[in-house]
Chain length 377, copies 4
């Protein structure tokens, strides 16, 4: 089958997330990366293209140049989809231009800097009818998809409590000057990161996992955020109370300063009949707890899973797949959408998830700024 021709904005040398997107696109094998704007610095961009074996002809100086040149190509040769993997502040202007230019998009999160921008993109996607995939990568894990399916089938009964966590430690060594990692420091700069560091970068993943797995919408939030150290301008840590209805409440906890933790994402959904728990660091285990039966562990590559979960794990049972395969599953869904094949609504997060995420981030920031009061999402 013919590959979908892909471009990329950002993701040059040293950018792990760009590399992740390229790997994922190769794993799912539906895309061919032919060019892009890999770095603001054109020289660096060219060095990168050469290293990757990408033709310098399609290594562009700017997004505008890319759009112009690609649109000049015959339709069956030009880029169909572009992946945006820049710092946060550039997502919106580039997404807007590219959508308007007729390109499908894969975009990193958080989708924009403001809710207004997010709503604007949502309108533009509706208008252009282009595929827009937002890479909330964790939704690509087979057991997250299985969790969503079990909940949708009512296995938990009435949901009574939801608790999601995203605890990381890497910024801890950045702020204390003890770590060697220096990439990503733009995350602490409001100009590039937007209004939030912790909630915008990782809290929003926990939020997205909740809405993805349960199909419910968080209605209100009350947050208490912590910049942790003098001189830090954004939140590095926080707790967010969440409410879905009068009797369904929960909490999102996120922190970037949990020394020594890696990527400790955990989501638990507690129902009247049973509960489910999934953690990212051992992503192939999904725990179902119930009062009357032994705890059950669901794993990929078994007949008891829903089809969408099964399709996302290609090795026989017991051969762990990881984060690249999760992202590849999202690319696979995106490819289906671009090719107008049938696909499941859970196969990739959309511009609407991006709008929800931006509303969440801003509600959380506002709640904290106004003295820890309830804010609508």
């Amino acid at each position: 089958m013919k590959k979908i021709i892909m471009g990329m904005i950002g993701g040059g040398i040293g950018a792990f997330i760009g590399d992740a997107h390229r790997r994922a696109s190769r794993i799912c094998n539906d895309f061919e990366l032919v060019g892009g704007v890999f770095d603001i610095d054109y020289e660096k961009s060219k060095v990168f293209a050469a290293k990757e074996g990408i033709s310098l002809d399609r290594c562009y100086k700017s997004v505008d140049a890319l759009i112009k040149a690609e649109l000049a190509l015959p339709k069956n040769e030009r880029m169909e989809v572009v992946a945006i993997v820049t710092p946060n502040d550039l997502h919106y202007p580039f997404a807007k231009k590219l959508l308007s230019g007729g390109f499908h998009l894969v975009c990193e999160k958080p989708m924009t800097l403001t809710v207004k921008e997010a709503l604007d993109l949502e309108k533009l996607v509706a208008k252009t009818k282009k595929t827009f995939a937002l890479t909330h990568t964790y939704t690509g894990y087979p057991m997250v998809r299985q969790m969503r399916d079990l909940i949708s089938k009512g296995v938990l009964g009435t949901i009574q409590r939801i608790d999601a966590q995203y605890y990381q430690g890497w910024i801890n060594s950045v702020i204390h000057g003890t770590g060697s990692r220096i990439t990503g420091i733009w995350r602490l700069d409001p100009k590039h990161a937007g209004v939030s560091s912790c909630m915008g970068d990782i809290g929003v993943h926990a939020f997205n996992l909740i809405e993805y797995t349960t199909g419910l919408e968080v209605k209100e939030v009350l947050s208490d955020l912590n910049p942790v150290k003098d001189g830090i301008k954004l939140d590095l840590d926080g707790t967010v109370m969440i409410r879905f209805s009068k009797t369904l409440k929960g909490v999102i906890r996120a922190s970037q300063i949990c020394a020594g933790l890696e990527n400790d994402i955990l989501i638990s959904v507690y129902g009247s009949k049973a509960s489910l728990r999934w953690g990212q660091e051992n992503p192939n285990y999904l725990y179902l707890f119930s009062d009357s039966e032994p705890t059950k562990i669901f794993k990929p590559a078994h007949g008891y899973n829903v089809k969408l979960a099964e399709e996302g794990h290609t090795m026989p049972a017991g051969h762990p797949e990881g984060i690249y395969e999760a992202l590849a599953n999202i690319y696979k869904g995106t490819a289906k959408s671009i090719r107008k094949e049938k696909f499941n609504p859970g196969e990739f997060p959309t511009v609407h998830d991006g709008v929800r995420g931006m509303k969440f981030i801003h509600a959380v920031i506002n709640s904290n700024a106004k003295g820890n009061v309830w804010m609508k999402v």
Copy 2:
């Protein structure tokens, strides 16, 4: 060595917590249970005493009768300590009488129904100079004591975030009528349980573990509680934001309706240098995370532990000890105090921990009642 003569109030047939206290007192081997008031119903109390091999002469009709009769005995024959394991509402009146009567006390938590009662007991303990042990049993686990020691030695650096959880499921089947367990229903009745179910019964344990392990005091709380089901008068679930200082914040999460969970207590303390995590269901594992070194697991019965942790685990490494041994460790510390032997401040929780707990419970209830505002603890 002569055993300390012990009595018990409550803890008759079917009361697991009374049985736990008796077992613990036998494990540590410093006590001899000689009598008590095991049930409000005197006939039941006698049936129980007979079954346990306790002399009916010292199976009393009431606490008043017990006090009168025991004080009439020669000093070396009379009860020296009494364990109070009744429903919450009876802790205070009985504790007051017994302290005034000159008895040392072991008391279940929450210590009283009100903060005023708690302060009153604190004064009485100061005045009578009696030993008062509050059974926050989880502080008896060797690895909790090791955690406290590592933190006190500065292994974590500056503490940056604290997150404690106590999630249970057994009340879920009670409220939905699906479980067989019916003991403990007094916990849902404000008359016996006081102002809170979830926070009073289990949230306070999480709170206590925080103050025990870190030596810090929670200054303020903001809570959002959930009775979960119509007709339930008390909180069964809730989230409590906590603040220690301007830059040290955290969260306590507690719930009694997490279907299928057992006793999922987890405490994580995140510092500028390293972090510690301990969970109750595998209590012999203490995790130390740091940026620059492999994760470490501390276990009991090793030379690298502090003496207090080591003394609390008597089997060679790899032979798990559990909750009874944790409670026995608290009884052991209580015995040392009664015998005026040297002991470590962490060997048993005191009346001051009870005061802190009551302040916490009431602050949490008030915060929720007033619309989720910050309340001083």
Copy 3:
């Protein structure tokens, strides 16, 4: 209920296993320890008795003295049961005398030094009709009992493979002179330990767990043992192939020199329909694997367990119980037998288990000595 009057041989100061027996007898609360011969050195024995609050009148100079004096007491005052917790070489002579004297016995394993002695004791137990409990303590864990029950009910189908492991590390530091632990060195001395160190001390536990959980008998063994270091006279490490029938085979692996391991016991039984796995260091988890269903974790204190498992765990679910409670469960079964109450065959290991164990140990030693050939058990 009246306590069973108990004596003890061995178990004086510094002997952790004697302390374990005493604790267990107190936990189950059916026994009262009144005297014994706690040390070969009478003076040390008296010091110990005084410390424990045991009357010096019943702290005897020798087993003979104990028997004579106790038999002189009125029947309702004399010791009914004696626990033998000495080094291995003393089990047989003392057991023989005590059984002949009319005492019930609790005996540590390995039961004797030779198969002949073991068979002799078996005859004597049959003749005297006394209760004889051998403390293969791990059979007292509720989830081991649940495992036995699930297998007996056919949940696994036809058993196809059995694999049991007992890996320890503490002797490693003894032989390399790096550890502080010096108790137990008699284990390396053939005079006290018998023909084997590793297989006699711990391999036999793995063997016993296999026969206990499956109800099957190991027919033949082929072993390869390793003293590991020059100058060591006994096996410290070994692998034992086992056969039950032409198509059912398996392996027992045991080692005392696995640096840094604690008490890593693991038993897996693989059947045509499903498999079960239990590990001692987290004894409250029993894993059931099957092809067509999610993995299940059985835990204590749930209605889905067999009665015998449930009775052995008294705390509500999620409060871990450990090794002392396991041993207490064996003491509880022993008490039922002594009192001629109804009990389940699985409630305590018997003299027959001791005979099986001795046959196993000797077959393993002989197989190795003869050049790794098959030996009948």
Copy 4:
């Protein structure tokens, strides 16, 4: 950088291992698959090529046809490396032809059917100086490489015992007719699988992991194998005692009929100072046990790891990578070798590992056939 032009033999529709190789080659991004012989049935081969977007011009009828046509192409256009992913019996004849034709090879294991064939290939590789990579995929996991490095640095002291396990369950449902999986049944047919099923398919992986991580050679084996069910011609289960020297012994355990298990590979190496344990199902955890220190868990993406381990994990810590990335690491090393870049001896298993594997398999089969006697490897 220019991609290495690759062909593939086998791996057509429904062959998961062929798909794994293709994915891995795309992940490491050094290869371009341009053609091959994907199926014995040429029509099926073409269907597959079309589906994969591979030019039908280079979809060949036979290996001979491939060799002839490719050699006719200009050197910079022709295939440089060919991956052989057929059933076992075809590895040798195809490898021989392709090596002789001047192609580098990636070959699935077991390398050949006989030791003679293996030695023959080894000579041919020496003569042709081509790169020959044998896909013992598990050696591609970063933590396996870290384990090798820690051992080579002497962290364990003198090695005292080695225990490796590979337990699977999928063939259990095949032999009992309860599973849906029917691929791989050639594994039970001596014509295609060779002399062994269990030891040839998975036991040899355990063997390879031992020699890979320790750098030691297994000198002798004594095996007891089990076909488990009447009518099965090959071993499905077995235990293999192994000896390295007079005082270093161990065991390999492998089984394909462990109902409900997935891919339960575990390797433990016990030394005089410390021990290491790694399991495949959570491949990002490497445990170091020592007597005097807390247990340590090594994980990928940390500065404390050796460079080779670090290069094999490209995501930040806490983002699990899995089996595809492990295989991609081996492809990466193969690419370095083909390009004559500097590489580490541990970066991919070689034809010599294949020779060792064949010697192991045949020694194991012979030991069993001759009545469980020691056989040299």
